[in-house]
């Protein structure tokens, strides 16, 4: 469960977000939409503890009942996915997944990573370097990697916008299905109304009230 309470973000010139309050349950997606510069990405930066200098913020963030507002990014257990897949190019696909997995017995970690690859129709791709995969395959690996880190919530910063229409539709379905299956609450920032999953609540940053 991800709880946002009274979040206000402001530049020295204007208030971007004023007192945003919302609760996102396990497997739910809260969609944040708005014009460029409306504060969508700044909201995600605040949620993961990386607010850029020059922005003032107040309000609180709780993950599974734990207050994380003042914790550094590494201790929040809030994962993030960007437009670019950001797979580490010098590590193989399998090593990218191992990087995300918590420490443990080597054989166990490998089998978890390989099972994740197989579940995404990527069995046998483990030894390959990211640049040898197609865009859609890399995007799927980046989602697997984010979820293998066992986040308590996931932030999605326009992760579909770089993909072409056909791929985009399949990738959206893949992401939302994984989030539901693992019960991870998510906040999705997007420009595109097509990205909104059925039944998801939408916040428009011009009105800031969650639609029913």
């Amino acid at each position: 469960m991800l709880e946002l309470h009274g979040i206000t973000l402001a530049t020295p010139q204007r208030t971007l977000i004023g007192g945003l309050t919302a609760t996102v349950g396990p497997g739910e997606v809260l969609v944040v939409m708005g014009e460029s510069g409306s504060g969508k990405s700044s909201l995600l930066a605040f949620l993961c503890g990386a607010l850029p200098a020059g922005l003032a913020a107040s309000g609180s963030v709780r993950v599974d009942g734990r207050e994380v507002t003042d914790l550094p990014t590494a201790q929040r257990r809030i994962g993030i996915l960007f437009q670019d897949d950001l797979l580490f190019p010098h590590l193989s696909v399998l090593e990218n997944l191992l990087f995300a997995l918590p420490a443990g017995r080597d054989a166990e970690r490998r089998s978890v990573a390989e099972a994740a690859l197989a579940s995404a129709d990527l069995a046998g791709y483990g030894p390959r370097l990211p640049h040898t995969l197609s865009g859609g395959q890399r995007s799927r690996v980046s989602v697997l990697r984010a979820l293998l880190a066992q986040p308590r919530a996931l932030l999605l910063d326009e992760p579909f916008s770089r993909l072409d229409m056909a791929l985009r539709q399949r990738f959206r379905a893949f992401v939302f299905e994984r989030l539901r299956a693992q019960g991870v609450p998510a906040v999705l920032v997007t420009h595109d109304a097509h990205d909104v999953p059925p039944g998801a609540r939408v916040i428009r940053l011009d009105d800031e009230e969650p639609a029913p």
Partner: protein
């Protein structure tokens, strides 16, 4: 019409060999002559039999390895803990100024700080009860520690500048921020993300600068003359003294020693590559082990390191000014008994030296920039990579070896001892630096400006003179300043190719370094540092003015 609008015309491309040959032919000829000069069996026999060789060789390799490893470790540590902070932005802004300080001038300043009668031991004297300079080798020490310190203080800014250049492009900077955040969102500390993910990607791109640091550290002569061990000296110093000898047989031994040094540099580089390859699988396992180690608070140590480095730099340069007017300054006084401007009067009396230095630097910097521009106007950007081995040769081949060959070439051309020969020799060193400094801005110039100008009916020459070069005035001026600084700092080529006939502030300063005229030494060293600083200042002013005119401040 399409062909006419191409950024680089077919006709222009045909001319690529002119700048390439102008730079490459003398360079390759010099390398050939250096090799040929060293292929004398007798010289090798004498070299191997020389009792000083084993220790000199070990000193060169040891100083080179220590300076490289320490410089790299400090650079990695500083960037890991400072990148993205306000302190990093401040450091990044000062790197250009630090790089402009010639190695020899800095070494002289550092020597004035560290020597037994230097400022540091004067400060310690009341505590230690010294009334005269203590009998300790704080410079010219047998292990080369002072030389290593000097090299590290000069090479860390160079490596930081290279890291900053890699991370500065907007796309790179954004990707770096997102990669850091991605790793941190998985529970890793920022430092952990740097060590496991970012450095493994960045370090291969620092291979050439690191190689340059290693080659310079192992073969440096000018800094070693001021700070290095003397009995025996490093192999580079030995080779240099043999090359300057009046006896041709000893010269051949010097050429052999220079080639041996080049072999050591190459062998060291190969061993480093082999070690990295052998360690890579182990490091990969470590990178993906999944343990989230909490990062310790390194901020105080980092602040202390940056503060100490800045203090040493500042004191070394300030001492040059201070000592140049310290007429009588008895130990352990902190203030001179007599302030005297005699040294500056001496400098003023030798105006031809200043004239030679500035004239040579202006001419060879202009030549370097001209060659760099000609190369980039006649070749596509991808060719820079092909030219890299030759471009970096002047930075990677030990200076003593290169100038020995260069001298033979000048003898052949009957230009030895002439100003023309010196200008050509200096240009061989300024051109690669000018290219490296200019290429990012020049290659990144928006090709659509040319298409627009050509579509408006302007010739290529008109486009270059009226559009492109005025728009690139700031990077052109910076590249010129870099070339100017490189020329001013030339010691080996000035002494050897000029056959000792044309003194510059650098040759004067290094000649004085072995004598007792401390005020004159400081004055010349300060002048050596001030000349490039003035040109860098002018380039900066020109760049700012142009940015204001073009409304580019925000970019």
């Amino acid at each position: 019409m399409g062909a006419a609008l191409r950024p680089v015309s077919a006709a222009a491309r045909r001319g690529w060999w002119v700048p390439a040959a102008t730079f490459a032919l003398p360079l390759l000829a010099s390398l050939w002559f250096a090799l040929a000069g060293a292929l004398d069996a007798g010289a090798w026999v004498r070299l191997v039999a020389d009792p000083a060789l084993p220790r000199a060789l070990a000193l060169s390799a040891g100083v080179g390895v220590a300076a490289t490893v320490l410089s790299l470790a400090i650079t990695l540590w500083l960037v890991t803990h400072l990148h993205g902070t306000a302190a990093w932005a401040r450091i990044e802004r000062t790197l250009g100024a630090l790089l402009a300080v010639p190695h020899a001038a800095f070494a002289i300043g550092l020597a004035l700080l560290l020597m037994p009668s230097g400022l540091l031991l004067r400060l310690a004297a009341p505590l230690a009860g010294w009334t005269s300079p203590p009998d300790v080798s704080t410079v010219h020490d047998p292990l080369g520690m002072a030389l290593i310190l000097g090299l590290v203080l000069k090479e860390v800014p160079f490596l930081l500048w290279n890291v900053a250049a890699q991370l500065r492009p907007v796309a790179q900077a954004a990707q770096l921020r997102q990669a850091l955040l991605t790793g941190q969102a998985m529970g890793y500390s920022a430092a952990s993300v740097w060590w496991r993910v970012l450095w493994p990607q960045l370090l291969p791109r620092l291979a050439l600068p690191l190689l340059a640091v290693w080659a310079y550290g192992a073969s440096v002569v000018d800094m070693a003359l001021v700070l290095g061990p003397t009995n025996p000296p490093t192999l580079a110093q030995l080779a240099w003294s043999w090359l300057l000898d009046a006896d041709a047989a000893v010269n051949a031994q010097g050429a052999a020693a220079a080639l041996l040094l080049a072999g050591v540099v190459a062998l060291g580089a190969l061993m480093a590559v082999a070690a990295v390859r052998a360690l890579r699988p182990l490091l990969r396992v470590r990178q993906v082990r999944g343990d989230r180690v909490a990062s310790g608070g390194a901020s105080r140590a980092v602040a202390a390191a940056v503060g100490s480095g800045a203090l040493l730099y500042g004191l070394a340069l300030a001492l040059l000014a201070f000592v140049s007017v310290a007429g009588v300054w008895r130990f352990p006084a902190l203030w001179p008994q007599v302030v005297s401007f005699d040294a500056w009067a001496g400098v003023a009396a030798s105006l031809p030296v200043l004239g030679h230095t500035a004239g040579l630097a202006l001419a060879s910097a202009a030549t370097g920039v001209l060659l760099a521009v000609a190369w980039m106007e006649t070749t596509p950007a991808g060719w820079d990579e092909r030219a890299a081995p030759l471009v970096f040769a002047t930075m990677l081949v030990p200076g003593v070896m290169l100038v020995a060959g260069l001298y033979q070439l000048m003898l052949l051309l009957r230009l030895d001892g002439s100003l023309t020969g010196l200008w050509l020799a200096h240009s061989l060193f300024t051109a690669p630096y000018a290219l490296v400094a200019l290429a990012p801005a020049y290659r990144g110039f928006d090709a659509r400006y040319e298409q627009t100008a050509r579509a408006l009916g302007r010739s290529r020459a008109a486009f270059l003179v009226r559009i492109k070069w005025p728009m690139l005035l700031a990077p052109l001026a910076s590249a010129f300043a870099v070339g100017f600084a490189v020329s001013v700092a030339q010691y080996l080529s000035t002494q050897f190719v000029g056959a000792g006939r044309h003194a510059t502030v650098t040759t004067e300063a290094l000649t004085l370094a072995s004598g007792g005229q401390r005020t004159l030494l400081a004055a010349y060293a300060l002048l050596q540092a001030l000349l490039p600083a003035l040109v860098f200042g002018a380039a900066w002013w020109l760049g700012q003015r142009q940015a204001r005119r073009l409304g580019l401040e925000a970019r």
